[in-house]
Symmetry: C2
Subunit: 613 residues, 2 copies
């Protein structure tokens, strides 16, 4: 075991491989971890619908919100039936990538993987930005620091996830229950206040003229915007192996429980929004307006509810931290992503995947100035692309095997496919200019990238594989010629020279590049005085200060003179400082040089370390 380092304290001590089992989730903690994403959408989905309806319908918008939300809950029920089947069919974890690749082959699988990656990153960005909106609703003075607040949320989550999933269960589970509790208390209070205590919520003071009634297109547009509420529904089916045994049964239970919680709270909130005449306002979210109307603006309950909202949204972001590294590890395992994503870190999590989410989400937060509304079309469309592929894959799964009650199951997933495809098309059409167009660009680009990575790895594997008689390939080549670039006689140079002598090279060339100011003669005298057998001095003069370039040209010339089997070795001292920051003050030239030399087939670089005191 290594000594207790900064990393140990910050990330926690390393865990052994067999600890993997202990990290599994019970239903009671699996529910909050995998459903926080969907449940938290209550913080923004209703507002998205209102923002579509309000400009046309004004005060009548809130009534239509209830209908739109009911339609969305209907869609949720369909999805729950569909994904219960996915869990049964793919107990090893049935994300859209697996289902797509398994049933349709490479390209649809990669499209699904790309859509999932995009939506995971957007889960983090959207949730942290929406959490920030909740903070600003309670503390409007914080408005100018919006992206920074969202960024801090992402930083905290990254840190929590680098420490590992097991502590996540309790740490992230309790607050989700706290939010669900707050939501239920608010819904009950809201109804009791009006129907039992006879409170009449004030109608908005401004008389806003209703300019239009609901049309089919407006309804569809509102529906498409509200479908952001269903992002995260697939998370459970991706994460089946994370549950305790029997994993599929527990996962299905979590999925059903989640749908119940989501259904009750979404409809409750939509009904109350109508009852309390909530309208969209700047810097205050609709749900914060509702909480203020029910609990009283500035009351303790209002602030508790805002805190609970911030926390649940932060945890929704955590869904992606739980899911995306697993997906990346799978895709990388198949060779479509850099291999580093398959490596579990010291805490048994996929640290590189976690860091990728961190960077990508941070960029999105600052690029979109932490505005949830502009991020949502991109989010919803990528989610429904993956839903569609997943459902179509499941339909194919049943119709190919024709086992058991396959017709019944194929029907459910067939309906799921049609519904998801319709919603996906709806979002792309109605929100195309609002950001959905990005999906049409990013997903194909990601697919091309993954194909290119796979092609590269395949090529390298074919290149480095050994065939035939290995023993015949192993042979002692002629001794190598050594080139030692030298600027002046220093202790590091002498150490490198001594190392070179220990290699017993028959020929050593000392090589100097200068501006022709006579220093080369001094150096030649000093080196000749050392009387090293087999050594000679050479130099080049340049007026262009491009020492590295002249040196590389000289090396190329030497390489061309060499016969087959011969090789050139460049020996250089490498200064190492005891403090890390001072590294920047040295070796800048030699780092560039080594990168160039690595490209030469018959040139080997030896860096002889010289540790500065």
């Amino acid at each position: 075991m290594s000594k207790k380092s900064f990393k140990d304290i910050f990330i926690g001590p390393a865990l052994e491989n067999n600890k993997l089992e202990a990290e599994k989730l019970k239903v009671v903690w699996g529910l909050p971890i995998y459903s926080s994403d969907t449940i938290s959408s209550v913080a923004y989905a209703g507002e998205e619908v209102l923002m579509v309806l309000f400009p046309v319908m004004a005060l009548a918008a809130t009534r239509s919100l209830v209908y739109v939300m009911s339609a969305i809950i209907g869609l949720l029920v369909v999805l729950v039936f569909c994904y219960r089947q996915t869990i049964d069919a793919y107990p090893q974890g049935g994300g859209a990538y697996i289902v797509g690749a398994d049933n349709f082959g490479e390209i649809p699988g990669l499209v699904a993987a790309s859509a999932l990656l995009v939506s995971y990153i957007l889960t983090v960005a959207v949730s942290s930005c929406s959490g920030t909106a909740a903070i600003i609703s309670a503390f409007p003075a914080a408005a100018p620091y919006k992206p920074w607040i969202a960024f801090v949320i992402v930083c905290i989550l990254t840190w929590g996830n680098l420490r590992g999933l097991s502590e996540s269960g309790v740490m992230f589970g309790l607050p989700t229950y706290f939010f669900i509790g707050s939501l239920v208390v608010m819904i009950i209070t809201g109804f009791v206040k009006v129907f039992v205590l006879g409170y009449a919520p004030p109608a908005p003071t401004e008389m806003i003229r209703t300019t239009g009634d609901i049309t089919v297109f407006l309804f569809l547009q509102a529906f498409a915007s509200g479908c952001t509420a269903l992002t995260g529904v697939e998370a459970v089916s991706n994460g089946v192996p994370s549950f305790t045994d029997p994993a599929p049964k527990n996962a299905k239970l979590v999925l059903t429980l989640m749908a119940c919680v989501v259904g009750v709270t979404f409809i409750g909130v939509a009904a109350l929004t109508d009852l309390y005449h909530i309208t969209p306002r700047e810097n205050v979210t609709a749900i914060a307006s509702l909480a203020a109307a029910i609990f009283g603006n500035g009351s303790v309950f209002f602030y508790i509810f805002q805190i609970a909202t911030v926390i649940i949204l932060s945890l929704a972001a955590n869904t992606a931290f739980a899911g995306m590294p697993l997906l990346l590890a799978m895709v990388a395992g198949d060779g479509y992503m850099p291999r580093q994503f398959t490596v579990r870190g010291a805490r048994l999590n996929f640290s590189n995947g976690i860091l990728l989410i961190f960077f990508a989400a941070s960029v999105l937060i600052f690029a979109f100035n932490a505005d949830t509304h502009t991020l949502l079309p991109l989010y919803a469309s990528s989610v429904f692309v993956s839903f569609t592929i997943s459902q179509a894959g499941m339909f194919t799964h049943w119709t190919r095997r024709k086992e058991g009650a396959w017709k019944h199951k194929a029907l459910i997933n067939g309906v799921g496919t049609l519904v998801c495809f319709t919603v996906c098309a709806l979002i792309l059409v109605t929100r195309f200019l609002d950001g959905a167009w990005l999906v049409v660009i990013i997903i194909p680009l990601l697919v091309l990238l993954m194909k290119a990575i796979k092609k590269h790895y395949d090529k390298v594997a074919a290149d480095i594989i050994l065939r035939g008689d290995v023993k015949a390939l192993v042979q002692r080549r002629g001794a190598t010629k050594v080139l030692m670039p030298v600027q002046s006689l220093t202790r590091p140079f002498v150490k490198a020279l001594n190392y070179t002598l220990s290699l017993g090279a028959p020929e050593i060339e000392f090589y100097y590049v200068g501006s022709g100011d006579g220093r080369e003669q001094t150096l030649k005298k000093q080196l000749d005085a050392l009387e090293i057998p087999g050594a000679h001095f050479s130099c080049d003069i340049t007026e262009l200060r491009n020492v590295n370039e002249v040196l590389l040209n000289h090396i190329d010339a030497l390489e061309q003179e060499m016969g087959p089997g011969q090789s050139l070795t460049v020996v250089m001292p490498q200064l190492t400082c005891s403090e890390t920051w001072t590294e920047l003050l040295h070796n800048q030239t030699s780092v560039k040089l080594k990168l160039e030399l690595n490209k030469r087939r018959n040139v080997t670089v030896i860096s002889v370390p010289y540790i500065l005191k």
Copy 2:
């Protein structure tokens, strides 16, 4: 000569050392290059004064603006006399760093250098942000993209400066004359309209109650804010060697000409601001309001004037690009900054210094959201810190030497010292909370950093120097022991093995780290079958996936077993891809490993290149 690369086309072809002379500036181009900073202040200095006066004095503020500006021009005259003496005394370039270090020693010199570095970077940030404000005044729709517009300006300037100073003369000189011309046309038109054509500018429609009259404190506060107009006055004395011979005479001429232009235009603009009743507005600068009032809003002349303003401000930023790399090269030459800053690039400019400005200014632009007003207190206070040290240094210069008319000269610089110190204190006191406090933190930090860098370089120089009989130090040590980490038998491994054999090492250890799944036995058999003399196989089993750590521990153990004079060599294959992007898909583990191994005194790393097809 190398082949024509992307860099050649982007930055221009490399120049030889003796081309340095040709890059010098005549007065006609030196004036615009070194005075654009000061002249461009007309775009924001008056507005800064108004922003102090207006909340207290309302419409009476513009009259006081004329008085405040007159006082500032008075200060300018004092500074011109002072800096003419600096030019005479330091014809090799008399920046505050040189004057401070020369007359007071290390610490005051470093304080001056730090203040100059901060003010150079702020010149770029303030000027590009103010240029952006001019663009937004003409095109208010661009307001949301403020930091990005400023960033684009900085990018263009960086590119221009990477190409070199000689083209800069014409490229940057003509637009400065164009701006001065526009300014003169505006001033003349403004006065002619009122006094010749009898035009009566409309008083503002809103009746704003005057809540107070000018007090001494308010006047001083306004004066301190307006002193941003004088930033850049010292640029000429820093850059004396850039002028054609006789350099000091030409530099003094440029300084005097600049003061005349600045005096006339500042007073003219201030008088017109009063005459046309200009008041501060959001998203429209005061000078843009004035131009609109004189030329007519939306007229061609208004747009021409805005374009000229944007360009002059961009060129003001260029002053720093001309000055800061020279200063950095000087400070780095004295060992207080990383040595890379002393290296002239292929185009004879100090590319690293230019890139440092680029990064620092970009960070400031985004951190302050391109708001000129919040950047200015920081800017003005750092500039006057360097002015004060420079003047005090000049005073000491004369009083120590007592040559010629030293009493007269000492008097001028003594007055300069007192005035600059007073202004500096005034800015720090009146604008402390507005950002001047940052100067009190940043400058000491920079001084500490420079001291630390100097200390480090001194230590290294003492460490690597060779003393006594060099020949006795050169000795052939015992042959090195070779360790070859191996995961599986591949072509790159065989190539590395063949290279190792060519070194003739007496002992080779193949070393494998695995999870104990039996692969180590297969590998041992394969390696034993090669029958390499002096080679043996060893392995370690780990459950923690920390292959690198186990390998390092093994190496440390081997290093401890070694006697004095013995050394260990680690040979590893190094995969190199023909395409750069694929590099990221390989060698990640070995890069980390090499960084660690470089810290070990008796371990040398050999990377044997394997070029992938």
